[in-house]
């Protein structure tokens, strides 16, 4: 996935969110730390460009303390920044790659500790279907790919922005 296509995909995701949730009165966007934040920043920015008048609540969620795999290797937490209540809100969780579903499981646990959301939806840039270990399904998908366990997906956000699928050695 090259930069141009990536931009189009993110814009499409922004449009889909607008279609379903405009004017975002009871809906908030929450990016999952650390890598989901890049995606959610873009989507938030695109929605603001299309509808500068709406005031969307946008937060960042760190899920480190909720992981089920941290005991083997300690993960360093990032910042959680949720300056609003999610009580009775529609929450759109945003992440870069959906693979086993374990991150999203942790994110839902972390999220529900902040209050009882009315509804939680999942927006994903890359969906690696057929690799799920938990019954989790995305509502908004940037790109769906078939990949096997030995392959890895990497999202680059440097000067060159791209998504690549490669064989891990």
């Amino acid at each position: 996935m090259e930069e141009k296509q990536l931009r189009l995909t993110l814009q499409r995701l922004a449009h889909e969110l607008i279609e379903n949730h405009f004017p975002f009165e009871d809906t908030c966007l929450i990016g999952i730390q650390p890598r989901g934040i890049v995606i959610s920043d873009y989507i938030y920015q695109y929605i603001k460009e299309i509808h500068p008048e709406v005031n969307i609540q946008y937060g960042k969620l760190d899920i480190t303390f909720y992981r089920d795999d941290f005991r083997g290797q300690i993960h360093i937490p990032s910042i959680t920044d949720l300056p609003f209540s999610i009580e009775k809100k529609n929450v759109i969780l945003i992440d870069d790659v959906l693979y086993t579903g374990r991150t999203i499981r942790a994110a839902m646990d972390a999220l529900l500790d902040h209050g009882r959301a009315k509804k939680v939806e999942l927006c994903i840039l890359v969906d690696r279907k057929f690799s799920r270990e938990l019954p989790i399904h995305p509502d908004y998908v940037g790109k769906s790919i078939d990949s096997i366990v030995t392959q890895k997906v990497k999202v680059y956000w440097g000067d060159e922005k791209k998504v690549i699928l490669y064989e891990s050695v």
């Binding site: 303390f65 992981r67 005991r71 300690i74 990032s78 500790d113």
Partner: protein
């Protein structure tokens, strides 16, 4: 990224990057403590024993809360009312507790080096909650966290440690930590309560004049006079100590600036610290206590990693 040590026995063994890691992690736990549900499931498969061979209010409650906020299972042990009075040794006691599948030990002991001794004999991770007159590492970490919160980074900041330096494990841990992180340290107090080696071993300033230390510093960490550890007369009376070395309102008002006042507690009001200073806006004593829970959560979380070696 992980700690370079398996136990937290003292600040002496930590690298500056370990200290940074603990303080950064503590920031995230402080955020957890502001949430409606102040609890995370990180340590729900870990059992921790709090082994207190010496009295404690703040440290014990703070550790216990930190453990509960991390969802760990906890057991509290205090030497009084246990088989220690029947003559059971420290190692026997701990081995018996560990055989009930306990993963971590938080311990306070009146003997210097007790946790170091244990660390050589048992597989569990040990957190030193104060050993004799040696170290009290989590106190120094929470002091550093509180200073950072007020003043930004530690590097270049001027910290005065005032009072009973000789008997204070808080002083020693603070001196290790602050010098490792690039802060400047002055210790002040009566000559009988300041060990002679401090100046040469740490390259810190020593003064016997409290006013001079206060004039110089950004932060004054005032320590308790530890009467329980003094078996000889080191100053004539508490009243005289207060007049010569106590922090009073009038002393602080005579300075050209606002110094931040810290104290690890428990305070001897009217001895090392007057009430109107302890309860003033300059004092961050209760912030220290609040931060203690977040810092201890960070330490327990980072030490709970199961390394390949012992698994």
């Amino acid at each position: 990224m992980q700690l370079s040590t398996k136990h937290l026995l003292g600040i002496r063994d930590l690298l500056p990057k370990d200290i940074e890691l603990i303080l950064d992690t503590a920031k995230q736990f402080k955020e957890v403590l502001q949430r409606p549900i102040k609890k995370v499931p990180s340590l729900r498969d870990v059992t921790i024993v709090n082994l207190f061979y010496e009295n404690s209010t703040r440290t014990r409650i703070s550790f216990e809360l930190a453990e509960k906020r991390l969802s760990a299972d906890t057991i509290n042990f205090s030497a009084s009312g246990s088989s220690v009075s029947k003559g059971e040794t420290l190692l026997d006691t701990v081995n018996n507790i560990l055989s009930m599948k306990v993963d971590m030990v938080v311990m306070r002991h009146s003997a210097t080096g007790a946790p170091h001794f244990l660390a050589q004999h048992i597989p569990a991770a040990i957190v030193n909650a104060g050993d004799g007159i040696n170290e009290h590492p989590t106190q120094a970490l929470l002091d550093a966290f509180s200073i950072q919160e007020k003043l930004g980074e530690l590097k270049g900041k001027k910290i005065a440690i005032i009072g009973d330096i000789m008997h204070s494990r808080v002083a020693l841990s603070n001196i290790y930590l602050l010098t490792k992180m690039g802060a400047e340290v002055t210790v002040a107090g009566p000559p009988t309560l300041i060990p002679k080696y401090l100046k040469d071993s740490f390259g810190i300033h020593v003064t016997y004049n409290v006013k001079e230390a206060l004039d110089w510093c950004d932060v004054a960490n005032v320590l308790r006079i530890q009467l329980e550890r003094q078996n000889q007369v080191l100053f004539s009376s508490l009243r005289e100590y207060n007049r010569a070395y106590g922090i009073t309102k009038s002393l602080l008002s005579s300075l050209q600036k606002d110094v931040i006042i810290m104290h690890p507690g428990p305070i001897n009001r009217g001895v090392e610290l007057d009430s109107d200073v302890a309860d003033s806006g300059q004092s961050i004593i209760l912030d220290q206590v609040e931060n203690g829970v977040a810092v201890r959560m960070a330490v327990l979380y980072l030490l709970s990693e199961r390394r390949e070696a012992n698994n």
